[in-house]
């Protein structure tokens, strides 16, 4: 079983560091690259949500990311020390509206729910924890 963990400040400039983290995990776990983008995308969406909505003036949150290879799935956990916030409680965006009506926000979490097999939220020891997994077959 391959497992990796990293921690970065909740700063948009860290996105490249996190992408590199996913790529290194993928290489270490010797996985085929086909599902790697799913995890890169989910991590960008969740991380940027924390960057843009979790931070308060003068305080930079810390975000911890871990990737674990199980027998048939990869699990990713993203934790932050910001105020309690469950992104899964957000109402899904209306994806059927016309070009003029479509809202530009709210798509990130929606996409994560669509591309992952499971997504769950918990508030654990004063931290927000979002856990996602995706099977590697199919």
């Amino acid at each position: 079983m391959t497992a990796r963990r990293t921690a970065v400040p909740a700063d948009a400039a860290q996105l490249t560091v996190l992408n590199q983290f996913v790529r290194e995990f993928w290489a270490a776990a010797a996985l085929s690259p086909s599902k790697m983008q799913t995890f890169e995308l989910a991590l960008e969406e969740i991380f940027m949500n924390v960057v843009m909505h979790g931070s308060q003036p003068g305080i930079t949150l810390r975000v911890e990311v871990s990737l674990n290879l199980g027998t048939d799935a990869v699990t990713m956990t993203v934790e932050d020390d910001g105020p309690q916030f469950d992104p899964l409680s957000l109402a899904p965006p209306d994806v059927t509206g016309s070009l003029a009506d479509r809202r530009v926000g709210g798509l990130g979490v929606f996409l994560v729910r669509k591309i992952m097999d499971t997504v769950s939220y918990a508030r654990v020891a004063g931290r927000n924890r979002l856990r996602m997994s995706k099977r590697l077959d199919g």
Binding site: L15, Q37, L41, A100, L107, K114
Partner: protein, 118 residues
């Protein structure tokens, strides 16, 4: 992300190469705005060729949405073509393929853009 822009008659073809993520989206959006406002003359159509576009996140989708909306307001036809499977999946999941035309290749996007204009 790199951007290649070609003028084919009065159609502007924009080919982003690389990743359209949170970092790249603002620059991409500005580039599309410049293409649409034109140097004095706006194009009749803008086609985004996705052959080299490897990745798009919601930040990239936002740039496409705002550009498509600006095009509609200016009477410019706006379409995408030749999307890679992973990018096309994001477009379909988000419902964007229902509000922005997506063509299988550049030739069909060009044909569509030129239809109705003689």
């Amino acid at each position: 992300m790199n951007l290649r822009i070609e003028e084919i008659g009065d159609v502007s073809c924009v080919a982003p190469v690389g990743r359209l993520d949170f970092d790249a989206a603002p620059g991409f959006q500005e580039a599309l705005e410049r293409v649409m406002s034109g140097a004095g003359k706006s194009p009749a159509a803008v086609i985004i060729d996705g052959t080299g576009l490897e990745y798009v996140s919601s930040a990239g989708l936002r740039a496409f949405l705002l550009a498509a909306r600006a095009a509609q307001r200016s009477g410019i036809s706006f379409a995408l073509c030749a999307l890679q499977p992973a990018v096309r999946e994001v477009f379909e999941l988000s419902g964007f393929s229902r509000i922005i035309s997506v063509h299988p290749d550049r030739a069909s996007a060009l044909a569509q853009a030129q239809q109705g204009r003689v």
